[in-house]
């Protein structure tokens, strides 16, 4: 059971009497972009939070490359190689884009708190290496031109890029994006789509939780549709478009996506 993939299997999540997820599941494969869609309240975000350790499922398992990571703390999940972004960017708008990327490198830190405090040579050496690495990430993500600017001076699309760069800075193998297209324009969405595609080409497994069906169609090889906490469809985006139930659920949103 050592095939590389991130799997949520038969996840059930109940908040008191409210069942948000019931036997829901999704798979993310390295080098592939998968989609997870559903209406508001369908349980997408809950499943997302179960995958990233922010919620502990009531039942079911989360497996990373065959290893059970159900109920691990978020920072442990992150260190195991699963990065996430937030729908509303959670970022200190006073810092520069480069500093934000630098913050994403924290899992690389090998020295202890005391070494930092005493300014020991190996801690300082590691800090210099991290600074260089941040520059490398900035270059790789083509952020050079504006990395020195404060985040509050950037457009929403660039803030999303910063979030992605921060998330994958520490060599994440899986990247979970929570509605990355929310609040950005069409041109910026295309840039973001290119970015996501190139991440997948580098072998990162991407899960896209989205409302925006056109972004899903642009990027995803497969898509999972959730409704009222259960999976109602699994297949390619094109098949999803032909599926009657999915279209019924999605009529408003999908029609808008078609028009776009």
């Amino acid at each position: 059971m050592s095939e590389s993939k991130l799997v949520a299997r038969d996840v059930r999540m109940a908040f008191g009497g409210v069942v948000a997820l019931d036997r829901a599941g999704v798979e993310v494969h390295p080098g592939r972009v998968s989609g997870l869609i559903g209406r508001n309240g369908s349980g997408k975000s809950t499943l997302f939070n179960c995958l990233t350790g922010f919620l502990k499922p009531t039942a079911g398992t989360i497996e990373l490359d065959g290893r059970d990571i159900t109920g691990h703390a978020p920072h442990e999940v992150m260190r195991a190689g699963i990065a996430r972004t937030f729908q509303t960017p959670r970022i200190d708008f006073q810092t520069t884009a480069r500093e934000a990327v630098l913050c994403g490198l924290f899992p690389r830190v090998r020295h202890g708190f005391l070494s930092s405090l005493l300014g020991l040579p190996h801690a300082l050496a590691e800090e210099r290496a991290m600074q260089r690495e941040a520059d490398a990430v900035v270059e790789r993500m083509r952020m050079d031109d504006w990395a020195a600017l404060q985040v509050n001076k950037l457009s929403m699309g660039r803030v999303r890029s910063v979030e992605v760069a921060r998330a994958i800075a520490a060599d994440a193998r899986y990247l979970l994006l929570d509605e990355p297209a929310a609040g950005i324009g069409r041109d910026e969405m295309r840039v973001l789509a290119d970015e996501i595609r190139s991440l997948a080409e580098r072998g990162i497994g991407v899960l896209l939780v989205e409302h925006n069906f056109s972004l899903i169609r642009m990027l995803c090889e497969d898509v999972t549709v959730l409704d009222t906490g259960a999976v109602i469809f699994k297949g390619t985006p094109d098949e999803a478009r032909r599926d009657e139930r999915v279209m019924q659920l999605y009529l408003g949103t999908a029609a808008a996506g078609e028009a776009a």
Binding site: E99, L117, L118
Partner: protein, 346 residues
């Protein structure tokens, strides 16, 4: 940056400390004030670290100092141990307590943390008042010997400021490291911190243990300077003043607490009556919160930033039509703004 190398705050502190050590001995009253200012600055630095950098509003910094003071007082008066042996305990005990305390309180919201730490401090004060066998109860412990080799005022003054300097050095090291950045992320947004792979509870425990160690060292200095320790010596009032001094100077800035302590403690001495001190402190706090919520250093930096931005605009208008505002403004700020040196490395 280039002038002061990578640790500008430490160099500024070294300069200020040297000045304090050189000037204070000229007048015995000054010397006493400067020594107490140094001790309070150390406790205030501990409050700045926890509140300014990590957002943990601890009302127990005075209690940590009191534990350090009692530890060394008991060691030296009851067991006749040298003061330096007491220092180890004075640092280790509050540090351990703070570590455990952080484990308990870091899940609470900010205000609850303040109340929980206040409750702990009150509890410790009650213990100090009633545990006659160890703390001497209400009477306290008198006759604490001075530190060997530092019994003369001006020498002790140097010792105090060396401690402050070491604390600033460690603080600055921390804030220039990934752990310091992580603390700032935790203050800003804990969910973000978790998504960055930061183990929040252990990080805050380490931070508060450091903060407790600083306060404990302050208590050690206090006990050996005053030579007397009682439950009223480093009480909740001391915790609040430490926090107040940090906020007035600029809790988010490494040297903010030191500046705040200088201002409030030395200026407070100029007031005619001790009773007026509360009035003065309260007034200063209200004024700062209204005019400069980021403290005096924050206010200075905002002024300097505005000046630089104006100058950058003027230059770009006069010279190249497409001058890049960002990097140019930043370079200018680095070069001609001394206040920036006091900015925390984040």
């Amino acid at each position: 940056m280039s002038l002061f190398g990578s640790r500008p705050n430490t160099w500024i502190m070294a300069g200020v400390g040297a000045l304090a050590c050189a000037v204070a001995p000229l007048n015995p009253v000054w010397l006493d004030s400067v020594i107490l200012t140094g001790i309070l600055a150390l406790i205030s630095l501990s409050a700045g670290l926890s509140f300014g950098q990590a957002g943990i509003l601890s009302m127990a910094q005075g209690a940590f100092a009191a534990i350090g003071a009692y530890a060394t007082a008991v060691c030296s008066t009851r067991f006749g141990l040298p003061a330096w042996a007491g220092l180890a305990l004075a640092i280790a005990l509050p540090s351990a307590l703070a570590w455990g305390l952080a484990r308990m309180v870091t899940r609470m919201p900010e205000l609850a943390v303040a109340l929980a730490t206040l409750a702990l401090a009150t509890l410790l004060e009650i213990v100090a008042r009633n545990w006659d066998a160890v703390t001497g109860g209400y009477v306290g412990i008198a006759g604490i010997p001075p530190v060997e080799g530092f019994s003369v005022g001006w020498r002790f003054n140097i010792l105090v400021w060396v401690f402050v300097l070491l604390a600033v050095l460690a603080y600055e090291n921390l804030m220039r490291s990934a752990h310091g950045r992580a603390l700032n992320i935790v203050r800003h947004d804990r969910t973000r911190a978790m998504a960055d792979g930061i183990a929040v509870a252990p990080l805050l425990s380490a931070m508060l243990a450091t903060s407790g160690a600083m306060a404990g060292a302050g208590g050690w200095l206090y006990a050996h300077y005053i030579t007397y320790m009682s439950p009223g010596s480093l009480d909740t009032h001391a915790s609040i003043s430490a926090l107040l001094m940090a906020v007035v100077g600029g809790a988010g800035y490494i040297l903010g607490p030191v500046l705040g302590t200088f201002l409030l403690n030395l200026l407070g001495k100029l007031l005619p009556a001790q009773e007026a001190q509360g009035l003065f402190y309260g007034g200063a706090l209200i004024l700062i919160l209204l005019v400069a919520p980021a403290g005096l250093l924050g206010w200075l930096q905002a002024l300097a930033d505005r000046r630089t931005a104006r100058r950058a605009r003027a230059t770009s208008n006069a010279a190249a039509p497409a001058a890049p505002a960002g990097p140019a403004a930043q370079a200018g700020r680095e070069a001609d703004n001394p206040a920036r040196a006091a900015e925390p490395a984040r």
